[in-house]
Symmetry: C2
Subunit: 438 residues, 2 copies
């Protein structure tokens, strides 16, 4: 793996001289002086991984988690294989300018902002002239970066006839065509010329990043839709436990992990495709999946487990063992019926049922309050997945799932999109997706 | 203060015998054995306060924060003076039954559930019959309580002619009448016969609590509206720093703190009112305050600071000093003009300008994605306040603010309500608000 954004990340070193202008503030005045502390905890992996580290005080630990940084510059974008952070804000924007240079300038501004925000710094070290609007909106002024990553992607619509980019559109960005169950996707929360995925271990930090990047787009692009994710619904780090989705199940047990370099090269990172500017990039497929949780909650436990193919309590497959025990799809009960229902979620989504196809999942649980029509909780999974080719991966899986997944009775794909996430911003002065315009 | 829910809270002691059925799981297998550790950190006060504690490992600390409990049973409800947790889910429900006994049974079920959830336990220790729906929805199955509190309130509409409670309605619950600026409150996100405020340091834990309590209401009450708060916007604990609102300012610097027993008795806890069942209760006034953040972001720094009456960076009053320096409202500049604008937010909301009136603020920043009409970020402050009498406190303050607060150009009160939060549930078998039905 050549990217800089594996599971190993570094804790920022406090620089007292910067404190006046930095967003980074150390709780209770705790200073992180010992390199051993910094090495002890891997960002986003959860605190459990630092158990072997030398003892630290509570104040130091809180400051350390807050100060944790994920490097922004690199061959590949962060926020894809980075051990998944706890909170998300996602935004899709439409370009309103018709000048490709405006788009380039925006991608440059965004890169400069992302470099600062991910280091825990505001839009500018200067608050600005008192007689002008502040450079930074300020709500994260006292906060460290909390492992913030900012990942940018390009939708298929960016390659229409507005910007002269039609011949740079990768084949992988061609429309996915009809997928069973997609008929109810709402245009207002689907697609967008550009997307930004901001992830961090603090929700105000991700909100601040999206807000200021949308603000920086004024005159060039406008917010089309956005989504807050309140809790991690996938594990991408080797030390992370599999979280539970809003059906109460551990979901994504067999996700590709950040330390599986071979799996990432095979399934996630683009190389040698028809558009070389996407080398070291990845394709994001997002789906806002509404869960009918009130209906689900009336289903019996045995049926819920049949639908998933796993036990609800332990996450173990119904064929036995623990959560990570390989699933025996061929096993039948005394009655000759397969123990794992052939239409269970775990089987239909498995590599075994899909010619080895896998995705890197990076989703979040969400709620938007209640549905105005039914009064039910409007909640579900904001599914985010990264892959080399949505046609060969997401579409294959979702066609199978959309057709016959037992879970379909309880879910609906109501929005989302596909974006080409270009390679990383390599250094200061570069833009997101510079290779696209070379 | 006679309630059990002051700033001092206790860390739950792990009980290995309960692990099979408890939601509480210890990250990385860390056990919290030392009483010294439990005493070292106060729940919700932030980790900084534990700096003087003996060193702990990162894994122990994470487990400790997750395992932290706030006692549920007590003279007064928790979640009012409890040091404010990081995340909120709030729900307003309407009673659909016309049988007062159904309401009583619901309040009993809720008390039993709240006792379990705040101890990190699921709806039942048994998953239930495989052929029946699981007792618990499961999404918090592996999680500790994270300082969860559950606070229940009764809206004025509960005292209409349906349940024979009309003569038990406190004068304090009478309609607030016309308050300047309230014209745009939307009925769909205003009011409700009952409310539940769930606060914890983890969002999935608060979601789980609300979801399962709404589920337990089936047949008796339905969800009317709900709100997720992503970040703490007030400080109520003595050791907590004042967080920033989405205008980027520290707001509520002079909030009543949990250690100010005299202030709480004077301003927050009901005693000796016309309805004795409300003794040791408090009135919640909630307001969903939409902030026009894009407009705010175009205002210059000097004007933003004039509107607040404080500096944006430090939170210090414009008359100088640090955040907690008393404000000199009488000071004038060389030009004879008051340094703090008489219509600034800090002056109009001050006890000095309102005959000593104060509130306990307990709000959260929120975002609902984007406004469908304008494409702007739909975000703001979910203002929660507790007081002895909304007429003598919130109404007085908001009448002044609604009339002439310079901030009004940038905010709108779009929803909310008033609820009478009864005294605490004293012991197992009691209900929320049992004194109301005695």
């Amino acid at each position: 793996m050549t990217g800089a954004h594996g599971p190993g990340t570094s804790a920022a070193t406090p620089d007292p001289a910067r404190r006046g202008t930095s967003r980074r503030r150390f709780l209770g005045g705790a200073a992180i002086g010992a390199a051993g502390l910094a090495a002890g905890a891997a960002a986003g992996v959860g605190l459990a991984s630092a158990e072997a580290a030398p003892p630290v005080t509570a104040g130091q630990l809180a400051a350390q988690r807050e100060a944790q940084t994920v490097p922004f510059y690199g061959t590949r974008q962060a926020g894809i294989t980075t051990p998944q952070q706890e909170r998300l804000m996602f935004a899709a924007l439409d370009v309103t300018s018709t000048d490709v240079q405006d788009v380039q300038r925006l991608l440059g501004r965004w890169a400069a902002l992302a470099a600062r925000f991910t280091a825990g710094r505001p839009v500018s070290d200067s608050p600005g002239n008192p007689d002008a609007p502040p450079f930074d909106t300020g709500e994260a002024m006292d906060s460290g970066p909390y492992s913030l990553t900012i990942t940018v992607g390009f939708g298929a619509s960016l390659f229409d006839d507005r910007f002269g980019l039609a011949d740079r559109r990768p084949a992988a960005l061609a429309p996915l065509g009809t997928i069973p169950g997609d008929a109810v996707m709402k245009p207002a929360i689907t697609g967008g010329d550009l997307c930004i995925q901001a992830c961090a271990d603090d929700p105000q930090v991700v909100f601040h990043a999206i807000r200021n990047m949308v603000r920086a787009a004024r005159g060039t692009a406008v917010l089309r839709w956005s989504q807050l994710g309140f809790g991690r619904a996938s594990a991408t780090g080797a030390g992370q436990t599999t979280p539970r989705n809003l059906f109460g199940f551990r979901d994504g047990t067999n996700n590709i992990h950040a330390d599986d370099t071979g799996g990432l090269d095979q399934h996630v990172w683009v190389s040698g495709s028809d558009q070389r500017w996407m080398d070291d990039g990845s394709y994001l497929v997002a789906r806002k999946i509404r869960m009918e949780i009130e209906s689900w909650d009336t289903d019996d436990l045995a049926d819920q487990q049949r639908i998933f193919g796993r036990r609800k309590d332990t996450g173990a497959p119904l064929t036995g063992g623990t959560e990570f025990t390989p699933i025996d799809f061929h096993r039948t009960g005394a009655d000759g019926v397969p123990v794992i229902d052939p239409h269970s979620h775990v089987r239909l989504a498995s590599p075994e049922a899909n010619g080895g196809v896998r995705l890197l999942r990076r989703g979040y649980n969400y709620t938007d309050g209640q549905d105005p029509d039914t009064g039910k909780l409007a909640a579900g999974l904001f599914f985010l997945s990264y892959q080399r080719d949505p046609h060969a991966q997401f579409k294959v899986l979702q066609t199978r799932l959309g057709k016959s997944d037992l879970m379909n009775e309880y879910i609906a794909h109501i929005g989302g999109g596909v974006w080409a996430c270009p390679p990383g911003v390599r250094q200061a002065g570069d833009w997101f997706g510079r290779s696209l315009f070379d």
